[in-house]
Symmetry: C2
Subunit: 199 residues, 2 copies
Amino acid sequence: MSQDLEQRKRGRPPSLAARAKALRAAHDILMNEGFGRLTIEAVAAKSGVSKPTIYRHWSNASELAMAALMIGYDGGETGGGGSLEDQLLAQMRSLVTAFATTRGRQIALTLAASDPESEMTKAFRNRVILSSRERGRELIEGAVNHGSMPAPEDIEVLLDMLYAPVFYRLLLGHLPLSLEFADSVVRAALAIMEVRQKG
Amino acid sequence: MSQDLEQRKRGRPPSLAARAKALRAAHDILMNEGFGRLTIEAVAAKSGVSKPTIYRHWSNASELAMAALMIGYDGGETGGGGSLEDQLLAQMRSLVTAFATTRGRQIALTLAASDPESEMTKAFRNRVILSSRERGRELIEGAVNHGSMPAPEDIEVLLDMLYAPVFYRLLLGHLPLSLEFADSVVRAALAIMEVRQKG
DNA sequence: TTCTATTTACGTTACGTATCGTAAATAAAT
DNA sequence: ATTTATTTACGATACGTAACGTAAATAGAA
C-alpha cells in the first residue's frame, strides 16, 4: 500500500454510508419535528442504522444532534482562495445559511438557552461560536502574514465586531439573519481596518 | 378496617390482573415455543404488560419462567383432607401432571441440566425438588403426630424413596412419568412403613 | 495468486432501568 | 360524606449496552 495513504486498520472498516444515513435522518427529524423528537431510537428507526452502530459514532443524542446541525455548515473552510474579504464573506454566508431557517434558529436557541454546563451547550459554544471566531482569526492572521493587509490594532476587538452581530441576531431573533446582513458586517469590519490604516 | 384483614398499603396496589396476564403469556410461550424463546420482551409483547411492570414482579426471565412453570403445580397443598395416603397421592399426581407433557419435561431437563449454580437451576431445585420433599415431610409428620401412623425409622430415607423415582424418571425420561407410576410409588413407600410396623 | 485465519464493524434481539404522565389506591382535611 | 393531597403502580418510550451471527476488511500461509 502506498506510504502516502493512511494505512487502513485491520478488520471491517466503519461504514461511512451508515454514518451518513444516520446523520441525514437526524437532520430530517431536527428540521421537521424539532429538537425534542431527536432520539437515538427515532434516528435508528428512520435511518435503518442500528442503535449499536449509532453509538459507535456518537456518544449520545446531543452529540448526534450537533453533528446533524453541522451538516449544512462547513465553517467556511471551502473558501480557500481569494482575498481576505472573499474568505470572510464565504464563512459568514455559510454560518448564516446554517441557522437562517426558522427551525435552525429554534434549535440554536434551544441549545444556547439550555443549561450552560450541559454537553449540548458546551458543544454548541465550542463548535459554532468559538470555532467560527478562531477560523476568522486564522483568515485575518493569514492575510497579515501574507502582506495583503496591515496588522489590526486589536484583533480580538475586530473578531468580536465580526461575529458578535451574527450571533446576536441568531440568539435574539429581533431582526432577520440574512446573507445581506452577513455581507454588511464583513464589509463594515474591513472598512474600519482601512480607516485605521489611513488615519 | 377489620384487624384480621391485612391492612392494605397506601398507593396504587399491584395489579393481580397484570401479573396473571404475564404468567399466562409466559406459560404459553414455554409450552408452544420452548424455553429459549421465553424472554421478557416476548412476554411483554404477548401479554400487553409493560417490561417495567414485569420486572416489578420477577427479577429476570428465569424467575418468570419458573413461576410460569408452576402454574399447573400447586404442590399438593389442596389435598388438605383425607388420609396420609390420599394426601401424598394428590401431591404426587400434581407433581407428575406439571411435568408429564413432552414440553414440560424438556423444560425441566433444560433447567436441571444447566449450570448448577445458575439462578434457574437453584430455583428449580428449591422450588420443585426440595419443596416437594419438604411438603411430603410435613404430611408424614402430620400423620405421625395425628396418631394415624407410627413414626418411621428414618424419615429421610422414606422421603427419598418417595421422590427420587419421580425425579429420576423426570430427568432421565427412560420410562413414562404417569399417574399410575405416581400412585405405585406412594403405595410402595407406605407398604414399607406398614411392614416395618408389623415386623 | 489463492486460500485460510484473524480482526473489526454491522444488524438483530434482548436486557434492565430511567423518566414521565396517568391511574388507583389511602390519608387527611373540610 | 366529600374533596383534596399524597403515595404507589402501570404503560409508554427511550436509553445504553451485551451477545451473537454475519460481513468486510487485512495478514499470513501455501
